[in-house]
């Protein structure tokens, strides 16, 4: 028996587009106050840019824009003004190389590897500030387990054992080499039953998309053995789980 669950993160794009306006409030509500990465100063020092992570992505939360974006991923960007004597004017974000990176309604979309400047333009078209951002091709997907308090516990092993009724909170991270990349992306989960449980028609393990962007819960329903496959960013990651009574 095969269960397919498509978790389309892009469906939350309308939410992300509002984040630059809502700022910390929206992100704080979305992920317990940990949804924003630390800021990166612009070249002119007029502004700082920070990624709106929306999940416990290790690269985002710990490093802000101190990592490349994963090709194929999206990330919201907030701008923090540091210009004395003026509030922030109405701004426009755009990139220098749209083939590599685009900015639309406060959301960055990474297309192919390379570097692009992100320009913050004022109402008169003058560049208020800019930062260079990198896009990298992910080479690995990694599942990171968190506890309910949002503390990272470590990478999920490829073969693991659960107890029936366990619920494991995980985040799917993209990496290039061993460098965790930024961005939220569409993921498709497949659960293949290798050894059915006492109720053959019922799932052994379910993958449930959390209310928070980028989080998933592995739920052990009944004893048995399954192979869980996740596909994203043209990569595949597989793990085998045994559920004990």
């Amino acid at each position: 028996m095969t269960t397919t669950r498509s978790a389309c993160l892009l469906s939350l794009t309308p939410l992300l587009t509002t984040l630059p306006l809502l700022g910390a409030l929206a992100c704080g509500d979305a992920s317990g106050g940990l949804g924003i990465g630390p800021p990166t100063a612009g070249s002119f020092g007029n502004t700082s840019a920070f990624p709106e992570c929306g999940a416990f992505s290790q690269a985002c939360i710990q490093g802000g824009f101190n990592a490349p974006l994963a090709a194929g991923a999206k990330v919201g960007v907030g701008i923090d003004f540091r210009t004395g004597g003026s509030s922030a004017p109405e701004i426009t974000l755009r990139t220098s190389v749209p083939d590599i990176l685009t900015a639309e309604s406060g959301v960055l979309t990474a297309h192919v590897p390379g570097a692009s400047a992100l320009l913050v333009e004022g109402p008169d078209g003058a560049v208020i500030d800019f930062i260079h951002l990198w896009v990298a091709q992910p080479t690995e997907l990694r599942l990171i387990r968190y506890n309910d308090a949002g503390v990272a516990l470590g990478a999920v092993r490829d073969e693991a054992t659960l107890l029936s009724d366990d619920q494991i909170l995980i985040v799917l991270d993209a990496l290039a080499g061993n460098q965790a990349l930024l961005g939220l992306f569409k993921a498709t989960w497949t659960v293949e039953i290798l050894e059915p449980g006492p109720e053959p028609d019922a799932p052994v393990v379910s993958v449930v998309e959390d209310l928070v962007f980028g989080w998933y819960r592995l739920v052990a329903r009944q004893p048995g053995r399954v192979r869980v496959t996740v596909e994203a960013l043209e990569l595949t990651h597989t793990l085998e789980l045994e559920v004990l009574p």
Partner: protein, 141 residues
């Protein structure tokens, strides 16, 4: 009390004039140019080279942005300075709001395509032609 004889006094009065006329008057050509006000990001190039007696050069990796400020010997400094890329689509030239450099006209240059181009900097008293080298971005590891 000391006394200064009239001829000596007259000579002392004339001395500054004599010294000035002894110095050759050199006409200095007005100059204008750019200097970088932002740093290059890792692995990319973004710099201005104004080495004397050499062709002034800007090196800017394709897709990179560089903040520059104008300087000149004109009385009005860089007021109304204009930057023109040749060909025009080689560089994107944008006005910049760089609060740390408010005494000068500031710009952001973005390299739009690879190759060797030129950038003309015109102020009220001088014009400088920069050679612009635009290398490709480094390949992904």
């Amino acid at each position: 009390m000391s006394r200064i004889f009239p001829p000596t006094r007259a000579l002392a009065a004339l001395l500054p004039t004599l010294l000035l006329t002894a110095c050759p008057v050199e006409e200095v050509e007005d100059r204008a140019g750019l200097y970088a006000i932002t740093a290059a990001p890792p692995a990319l190039e973004a710099r201005v080279n104004n080495t004397p007696d050499a062709v002034p050069t800007i090196t800017l990796t394709e897709g990179a942005a560089l903040g520059v400020a104008c300087w000149s010997t004109c009385e009005d400094e860089c007021e109304g300075a204009s930057l023109t890329a040749e060909p025009e689509d080689a560089l994107e030239i944008l006005p910049a709001y760089a609060t740390r450099y408010t005494y000068s006209d500031n710009f952001v240059l973005i390299a739009k395509k690879r190759g060797a181009f030129s950038l003309r900097v015109e102020t009220s008293c001088a014009t400088t032609l920069y050679r612009v080298d635009v290398p490709a971005q480094p390949a992904s590891p």
